[in-house]
Subunit: 460 residues, 2 copies
């Protein structure tokens, strides 16, 4: 019963509008069976929405059986037998065979986590205990619960070599939110920031909200090019050294030292977003920048990829002068992070469950990554090259088929597979051959196999 309620999970207002309009058209017979629908491009242009929004609406209609995609020919309405009952249109159960689209979509979305290996029992049990504590009925601390801050300090020391103390650990809800808060502290003294190109678009948006002047550090599949950094105006840089977003590469120890040297020389700061550092499959992770020079590094981590995105739990470690300013600025602001999630996670960490979980998931995701790679190589041979398979919960494929990124995504969608663009990560830097992002963390072995097979059908 409860699942029925979540029908609208994926709607944005515009998406909803398109989705419901077409449903109505088809229900009312305004669009007849086998009639061709406008192409995604046409519809997006005429409604002035993004193609992605249009695609999402069509995907949903395909999934619900209202329409079907027919390879390159476009989308067509399916035959329905609407029942009018008490003035309300009730949709009959669809005969799956009528639709050319596969009954369920394979969604290569990055950012979900594996549900089957989630330590549901332990987590529930601790969460239930926490809800009995008196502390759970009060407001929490503005910078996060000390119990959790201590656990994170211990974890960072053990696993990332970052020596800090709980007072310098600040709890937040998301990387973006923490970057926005940092913006208030930093923008007066650091009006200019360098970001990776390509790089995490969400971070860029946080800096843009504060009208930082943005410079770029070019990054290639082989690594970043630091040659121009000396000539930049920035005294602040945002990087993802453990697992570059999106390339998935790890910054070499030499590059790390270059960066630290630069920050010291100009008395600037490095914002180190250490996301996905937990899942490195081929070797030990390199030490965090914050472990080399904590005085010049603002360290960011979160539990979204490694545990659960929905609990909204992030943290940062601030060097002394920044910490002082941060506390002064935000002392009178309530925390935005659930007190219960904080205490549950703290207890989960204290009991060693967090380390066990990461260890277990590293194996689970490693197997999935290996399967992704072998399936892709089997199906595609020389037409694709794989990027970033050594760590993280997604990989990239460079698809050398003389097709656009948009075409690849659209064709995949016609075949019931959702894949994701990387063009959103680029500013000035470009790539000739389109690169597609494939997340796999919550797909089963069968789904990975089917998904890659469908991609082959869609593209080749």
């Amino acid at each position: 019963m409860i699942t029925a309620i979540f029908a609208f999970r994926d709607d944005s207002p515009k998406y909803k509008q398109i989705y419901e309009q077409f449903k109505l058209f088809i229900d009312r017979g305004d669009i007849l069976a086998d009639e061709r629908l406008p192409s995604i491009r046409q519809l997006a242009d005429s409604l002035q929405v993004s193609r992605n929004t249009t695609l999402m609406a069509y995907d949903q209609l395909v999934a619900e059986g209202y329409i079907r995609g027919e390879g390159g020919r476009g989308y067509f309405a399916n035959e329905l037998e609407p029942l009018i009952s008490q003035g309300k249109v009730i949709l009959p159960a669809l005969k799956q065979s009528e639709s050319l689209a596969p009954p369920s979509l394979i969604d290569f979305r990055a950012g979900a986590v594996d549900q089957t290996h989630f330590p549901l029992k332990v987590w529930r049990s601790i969460a239930n205990q926490v809800l009995s504590l008196q502390e759970s009925y009060q407001y929490g601390e503005p910078f996060g619960e000390m119990f959790l801050r201590k656990q994170i300090a211990t974890y960072l020391h053990q696993s990332r070599g970052v020596k800090t103390n709980a007072n310098a650990v600040i709890i937040g809800s998301s990387t973006q939110q923490m970057l926005i808060n940092l913006g208030y502290i930093l923008k007066a003294d650091f009006p200019c920031i360098t970001v990776e190109d390509p790089g995490y678009d969400g971070a860029r948006q946080s800096f843009q909200l504060h009208n930082f002047m943005i410079e770029t550090l070019p990054v290639y599949e082989t690594g970043a090019d630091f040659s121009q950094l000396e000539h930049s105006k920035s005294r602040l840089i945002y990087v993802t050294p453990s697992h570059h977003s999106p390339y998935g590469i790890s910054m070499s120890i030499q590059q790390r030292q270059t960066l630290i040297h630069w920050a010291n020389k100009i008395e600037g700061y490095i914002i180190e977003d250490d996301y996905d550092s937990e899942f490195r499959y081929t070797q030990q992770p390199f030490p965090a920048l914050a472990s080399i020079d904590p005085a010049r590094v603002i360290y960011l981590g979160n539990f979204s990829k490694s545990f659960l995105p929905g609990i909204r739990l992030s943290y940062m470690v601030l060097p002394e002068p920044i910490l002082k300013r941060y506390i002064h600025q935000f002392l009178h602001f309530e925390s935005t992070t659930s007190l219960h999630s904080q205490l549950t996670m703290a207890k989960f960490m204290e009991e060693g469950e967090w380390n066990r979980h990461i260890k277990r998931m590293r194996l689970v995701y490693k197997r999935k990554m290996q399967q992704m790679v072998s399936q892709l190589l089997m199906q595609f041979d020389q037409t694709i090259s794989i990027i970033g398979e050594q760590s993280g919960l997604y990989l990239l494929i460079k698809v050398d088929l003389n097709r656009s990124e948009e075409w690849l995504i659209e064709q995949a969608s016609f075949h019931g597979v959702k894949v994701y663009p990387t063009s959103i990560y680029y500013l000035n830097n470009t790539t000739d051959i389109p690169i597609i992002k494939l997340g796999f963390s919550n797909l089963s072995s069968e789904e990975i196999k089917l998904g890659v097979e469908l991609l082959k059908m869609a593209w080749v």
Copy 2:
């Protein structure tokens, strides 16, 4: 076992520093038994921290038995018998009789909720269900889960007369966070904002973060004075019409209409913070401003007082033009609010549990409020007057004893009772006679009685 971990719940870095330093001094014998400690004022001045920080540290030391307060004479170290074991000082169990402070503090803090009447079973059961859903392992929607937004729209219509639809309801983590986000949308067109004086300091801080120019609307125990509003520069006003913070009064329908008229005339907006609207004891609540003219009102509500502060769940309803700008600005930012809390609350509301909870708690809190009033009248007679007893989870007392607010708080603390200042809410407006804030939502009947008796001992 789990409770032992929360020893540091109340520390901020400065507080911790003071607390730990004194503990060490006493443990090591640097401060001898019965030696007088610096006064709160002296210590605060010499360390350059607030008196409240110092008071908190002393309170904690009193509670743990390290020191005692002796009425007006100040604080003194207690006699301890430190045991040296494995190089670590282990504190012996304290003999309670040695300390003049009562064994447990009565804390009249506003902002906690009643734990004994919390619907723990139902909430846990729904929370556990939600954790089994596939949706719980993904990222949530940027503006909140549609399931919850729908439930809130329905609730607002039924209980506050606010007609809206789910798309205009935005989920956030706290009132302050939503005000900060609104700041980005509004500050260019509305550089100046009027706030109530006295008024909610947390809101003011959010506006100050954006460097809004701040004007004030004088508020008295009898109500707000709108006479100067016409001459203000602001086209934006932030008000708490259901339950003024801190006076607890409700804005009359005539005043509401005056405000709406003003906003229409200048084409401005009213930010209506409808907090505590659920707990009105004497009559039906007045309709929300947003129910009178939704086009001119940005409506804010939250679940902190009415349900649980720790889940960090707030919402706002935006008029069309603001909504459009908000969505455009924040479309690419992840929600900061726990997906699980959102879905659990949505289901809780859908099943009617929310309405049941509010109804039940209104009675519970009404009884507590009545007891507070009768105890205060019994102990204090004419020396105090009570403000704001018709609604909300705290009341104010105007204490006419020729003493300062600080003296009253300090004396109460010596007697083991924590009470709170209201001076922090004032900007230009002032009060001759000090006003003390007493929250009672998580105190038992016995605690309320004891607390008021101790206040009498402390003050008279």
